[in-house]
């Protein structure tokens, strides 16, 4: 049923965190923890994926995700090939499968895929040969599982546990694959209160059914939060009549030091990047003492190493 697990419950692909068991999430986080010191060694490499070919297949731009996947793969001693296929109207599905077939013919072992369409990673995973794993690096509005995992890793590092937390996710949940992956991970890991805080135009229909509490007022939503996650607001949103202006959005939903003071005093502030300073977050907060935005990026390496190592361990060496 779950296309990303083998019959004996091991990771076959990583497409979404929706439906992944708690034990699998914990295994990834624990494995990532064991890789944390590799980056500090003189020789920043372990030979786990020696001889494996990993293809970064990005149909959409990326800075953090693509780069940290590359670093992570190299630290595992894999061969990495980067393909940045610019998004254009010609990038049609048939071209996707053709591209995938051609790369598979070059003996690819793993595809790291980013695409503008929700479900693109599922689509490719359904198509590839059994020995190839697919990792979703962001598909449309659907999922960004390694981002969700590195966010959980960050929360665990700073907060120690999940069972006693209140987490607020602020902003454009509607268009955010990051938010969806975070919500699935947080609820699976036992966070008792996950809040989404946004105007109605930026929340998907029936979002409560994902196990979150809905707030339309930032002050009320931030009160008592241990973790505040800000989402990027894309400028296109002003065109679709979802918001009157960026200024108005910042006034009512932007995170300033003043607003952050409403959360718990030791609350951490997260953002997946890329940030729009002055739109969803004030620079004073982004660069302030409660911000863990840069550690998030660093942890992304260990988490992606863990995902790739577990996927490769699940296939014949």
């Amino acid at each position: 049923m779950n296309p990303q697990l083998t019959q004996d419950g091991r990771l076959r692909h990583l497409l979404t965190l929706d439906g992944l068991p708690r034990a699998t999430l914990m295994e990834i986080l624990d494995t990532a923890e064991s890789f944390m010191d590799v980056g500090e060694r003189e020789v920043k490499k372990v030979p786990l994926l020696r001889g494996k070919s990993i293809f970064n297949l990005f149909f959409e731009p990326s800075t953090r995700t693509r780069t940290t996947f590359e670093i992570a793969a190299k630290r595992l001693s894999a061969d990495v090939v980067n393909l940045n296929i610019a998004t254009s109207s010609q990038t049609k599905g048939e071209a996707i499968l053709d591209t995938v077939d051609n790369l598979a013919a070059m003996h690819a072992d793993m595809f790291i895929v980013r695409h503008s369409q929700s479900g693109a990673a599922h689509f490719i995973a359904r198509h590839v040969a059994p020995h190839i794993s697919v990792v979703n690096a962001g598909d449309g509005r659907h999922a960004h599982p390694t981002q969700g995992l590195l966010d959980m890793f960050t929360i665990r590092r700073f907060k120690g546990a999940f069972h006693n937390l209140t987490v607020g996710i602020v902003g454009d949940v509607l268009h955010s694959r990051v938010a969806r992956s975070q919500i699935h991970a947080l609820t699976t890991l036992g966070v008792p209160e996950v809040r989404v805080i946004a105007p109605k135009t930026l929340l998907p229909a029936g979002v409560e059914q994902m196990g979150v509490k809905v707030f339309h007022n930032l002050d009320a939503g931030l009160a008592g939060c241990d973790v505040v996650i800000m989402l990027r607001l894309q400028n296109e949103r002003m065109k679709g009549a979802r918001l009157p202006s960026a200024q108005e959005y910042f006034k009512f939903f932007g995170l300033t030091s003043e607003k952050l003071a409403l959360a718990k005093p030791d609350a951490i502030v997260m953002h997946p990047g890329p940030m729009n300073r002055g739109v969803e977050i004030d620079s004073e907060v982004a660069d302030g003492p409660q911000s863990v935005i840069l550690p998030q990026v660093t942890y992304g390496i260990a988490v992606r190493m863990a995902v790739m190592a577990l996927l490769a361990g699940g296939t014949a060496a």
Partner: protein, 290 residues
Amino acid sequence: MAELTEAGCRAFTQADAPMTDNQVLLRAMEYASTFGLSLWLRPQDVSLAHGGVAHDGAVASRLGLPGIPALAETVALATILQLARETGARVHLARLSTSEGLAMVRAAKAQGLAVTCDVASPHVHLSENDLISFDSHLHLVPPLRSLRDRDAIREALRDGTIDALCSDHTPVDEDVKQVPFGESAPGASGVELLLPLTLKWAREMDVPLMQAIGLISWKPAQILGVPAGTLAVGGWADLCVFDEAAEWIVGPRTLTSQGNNTPFLNHLMLGRVHYTLIDGHIDFEAPHSP
């Protein structure tokens, strides 16, 4: 319009091209009602449906698929029904998909409006819940809606609010389905599944066979004003001979249509046509018919 009617045209429609101009719609209804002609309309508000590929509900939200709200249907329907009330035009509403939309039609009929409606057979059996694997064969227009909507359709077929059940046969090339869901062309091949899907609904809802068959024979004929779909002395000998218990699996080998784009691929069907007779002559004979 009247000239086309003289040439044999039965109704007027924009097919699935969107109706964007209410002034044109009003005039079309006024003119049609002048001659007692009927309009076939697909109620879907273009701007509310814009950019959407799936029912705007919990499943699309989870999958990150842009939604088409039920409002896209009910807002268009409210406009059509109001104009029909005003002009007295006869309107057939094609491919309804929502519980609220069916309630509006039920109320309009109770008020004596000259409206009829149909639904497509996939919507009788499937819902948004079936989208979870992102299978582009489930990308349909209107979108597969909630289980509540699906159940309302099943009930409205029984109580007669829905006058006809249709296949909405939309074969598309497999190439335009072998892409991510949101980029795929909508539509499903369906004409060969209309009978078994109708029988399946009737079995599941305990509806008598004759009532079920009416939805795909004499009732649509009546909407079209064609004297067909009945067996009568002196009537047309247009017949379909089928075995309601014949089992078969949907697949490229068992479908005659070149359109294999069906959400029911590999599903077991009960009921298969053996012969089709037109004017008393066998026009179609299924392979291995008795």
